[in-house]
């Protein structure tokens, strides 16, 4: 079986956090306890969206030690492939769904003396569980810098400010407030680690600022869930199983492989974990690589593709599946 172990759950609560974000709470259908997890972990939510199977990762935001239920927050993405639209429009309390066991690709460095979190928009969610983990273990030396578009779109900003007035700063784009990055990067104690989750531009800005200021690479952590890019449809030949498949516009290559009944490995479905790495046997055309896993040289070689996020545009593509 490819991917993380599954859990059957029931939706027990759907709450509108603001005009873009909804929060979903899941309990196990068998009444048992959820697995413990570590702050920063995500779960992959399976959806059957009018016949199209979707598997989207969402950060767990509840306390890692609360095993009664899991909660996630989902931002509606009107342009994306529709997993978030499905959750927003179709998922109601009482529904049964399947989610994966927790997976963590963004965990705390437990050696750190201090943690500085940078969140942009919905990128706040992994930090919610990390902050709960740190404050429960009471080695909670952290700062959170949270950039939001407007006060009303700042999910959970009020709660955070109320609980951790000395640790949390919120910055409003509409009031031209900016994270004072240079100042924050200065004079931090040795053993401080930086974590960023948010839009790509923000991640790059913070990481390059930190690198310029001489921060060591192992103290920098980031998570960017790439929503798989919708693109043009294309055909692929699977050499091992002898199948030819059609990848639809609103479908990832991995999803099309699975829909053809081929059990392909995967984990993160976000181009980060490396699990779905697939050998290219032949190709005539251009690869659209969207992953974080392969090196630039591997991208250029045309010998490998990460089907969870990457696509192809051209005459023919033959994969080792």
């Amino acid at each position: 079986m490819a991917g993380a172990a599954k859990i059957s759950v029931k939706v027990i609560d759907v709450v509108e956090v603001n005009e873009l974000v909804k929060r979903f709470k899941f309990e196990r259908t068998d009444g048992g306890l959820m697995p413990t997890f570590s702050g920063g972990a995500h779960t992959v939510v399976e959806m059957n969206d009018q016949g199209t199977r979707r598997l989207n990762p969402y950060s767990l935001m509840s306390s890692p030690t609360d095993r009664s239920a899991y909660t996630i927050s989902v931002r509606r993405d009107d342009e994306g492939r529709g997993g978030s639209l499905y959750l927003h429009n179709h998922v109601k309390p009482g529904m049964e769904m399947t989610i994966s066991n927790p997976v963590n690709l963004f965990s705390l460095d437990l050696r750190a003396r201090k943690h500085i979190f940078f969140a942009g928009g919905i990128g706040i969610t992994p930090f919610l569980s990390q902050i709960k983990q740190l404050s429960a273990a009471n080695n909670g030396h952290f700062e959170l810098h949270y950039a939001v578009r407007t006060a009303s779109l700042g999910s959970y900003a009020d709660e955070l400010l109320e609980h951790f007035p000395n640790n949390v700063d919120v910055y409003h784009d509409d009031k031209d407030q900016q994270i004072p990055l240079d100042k924050l990067l200065e004079g931090q104690p040795l053993g401080t680690h930086i974590y960023v989750c948010g839009p790509k531009g923000m991640i790059n800005w913070i990481l390059s600022g930190a690198r310029k200021a001489g921060w060591p690479e192992q103290a920098l952590h980031y998570e960017e869930f790439l929503a798989p890019e919708p693109g043009k449809a294309f055909d692929v030949e699977l050499a091992v199983t002898g199948k030819t498949i059609h990848v639809k516009e609103q479908q990832s290559l991995l999803e099309a492989i699975e829909a053809a009944g081929v059990d392909a490995p995967y984990l993160c479905r976000g181009g980060a974990c490396g699990m779905c790495e697939t050998q290219v046997i032949r190709s005539e055309g251009d690869f659209i690589h969207n992953d974080h896993w392969l090196t630039d040289e591997e991208h250029a070689s045309g010998e490998k593709i990460m089907p969870c996020v990457s696509r192809f545009d051209g005459k023919s593509l033959v994969l080792d599946r």
């Binding site: 993380a4 570590s38 030690t65 965990s107 983990q133």
Partner: protein
């Protein structure tokens, strides 16, 4: 279930023995007539009731004596158990994992009752009845990793995961095949594997690490490794090489069947939930050649594997000098007949 625990020693008079049941369930590691390093990992899911692959943490007839041997090793050398400060959380993860698994798999031997963070643990074979506060190390006689691994067969490496690598930042290592925790502590996956021949060139470690980094909660994996040991010694550490290394020279054609042991490690990999670290249990099973050859399939196959093993591997595993003598002994059980696929003795 009713396991009867042997009273036996792994040193001095070496009274260690395997019962017929233990021989039959021995984890023979060769599924074909030759051996080479490979990325030989599979899901750690139950296979064949009664086999060593059936429970998360196998408990067998050697349990009580093996724990007594561990206690002796630790008395002489406390550095066999080490944990860097950031690994305590992983230690609690491990304690919970083992207690929950053993209580579920062996309800007649172990019992765990949790009332919030007030935990009550009963280990009948070792006569332990402990009440403690989960996540409060001051309520246990040892740190959480040491506490539970003094009660669990096999060595344990606790690995921290960061920078796309695994780091050996804690462990309980008293039954190892000639490597040292005190030397390896703080090293990463490639550093501690540096002495292994051939496998690096084959890209085995790069792929194995990618696989390990992706191991998920609730989906453990396992693999087997093996070597050869003269006398049923659990502690073949570099620290004590002066004690056991010379025993290799005591092998004679007359005693090779009873003194030469095949040593198999059942290694497993579990993701730890709170720390996002990983535990790597290395469970050691020993069988003397005399017992191994009681199954004709194993006897034939083992002869062929040892005969054709590359020199580099026989050297690394430390039996190159004794290989001719071992082969002379094994050859008498190999009539050249075909062996059936798979590891099971009677299939």
């Amino acid at each position: 279930m009713g396991i009867e625990f042997n009273k036996e020693t792994y040193r001095g008079d070496y009274t260690f023995t395997n019962s017929p049941t233990a021989i039959k369930r021995f984890p023979f590691p060769f599924d074909k007539d030759s051996y080479m390093y490979a990325v030989n990992m599979e899901p750690h899911t139950p296979v064949r009731e009664g086999s060593v692959y059936y429970n998360s943490f196998d408990v067998d007839e050697h349990y009580v004596s093996e724990m007594a041997d561990r206690a002796m090793v630790l008395d002489e050398d406390p550095l066999r158990c080490q944990s860097l400060p950031h690994m305590e959380l992983a230690g609690w993860d491990l304690l919970e994992l083992i207690m929950a698994a053993k209580a579920k798999d062996y309800p007649d031997l172990f019992k765990l009752t949790c009332d919030g963070d007030k935990w009550h643990w009963v280990n009948k074979p070792l006569g332990i009845d402990e009440t403690f506060t989960f996540m409060d190390a001051s309520t246990l006689p040892y740190g959480p990793m040491e506490y539970i691994t003094r009660q669990t067969q096999g060595d344990f490496c606790l690995l921290d995961q960061r920078e796309e690598n695994l780091w050996m930042d804690a462990g309980m290592i008293t039954t190892q095949a000639d490597w040292s925790l005190d030397f390896d502590i703080g090293m990463n996956f490639f550093e501690w594997h540096a002495p292994v021949p051939l496998a690096h060139e084959k890209g085995i470690f790069i792929r194995a690490l990618k696989f390990l980094l992706n191991i998920q909660q609730g989906a453990p994996a396992r693999r087997l490794n093996w070597t050869m040991t003269v006398n049923p010694l659990l502690d073949t550490s570099p620290e004590n090489y002066h004690k056991w290394g010379i025993q290799k020279t005591t092998l004679t054609p007359e005693n090779v069947g009873s003194k030469q042991y095949l040593r198999v490690e059942l290694q497993s990999f579990f993701r730890l939930p709170r720390s996002n670290g990983m535990v790597f249990p290395i469970r050691c099973y020993l069988i003397k050649l005399e017992d191994l050859v009681t199954y004709p399939k194993w006897a034939r196959r083992f002869h062929r594997v040892i005969r054709d093993l590359p020199v580099e591997l026989a050297t690394y595993k430390g039996f190159i000098d004794n290989r001719p003598m071992i082969l002379d002994y094994l050859a008498q059980f190999d009539d050249g007949a075909e062996t059936s696929p798979g590891v099971w003795p009677e299939d």
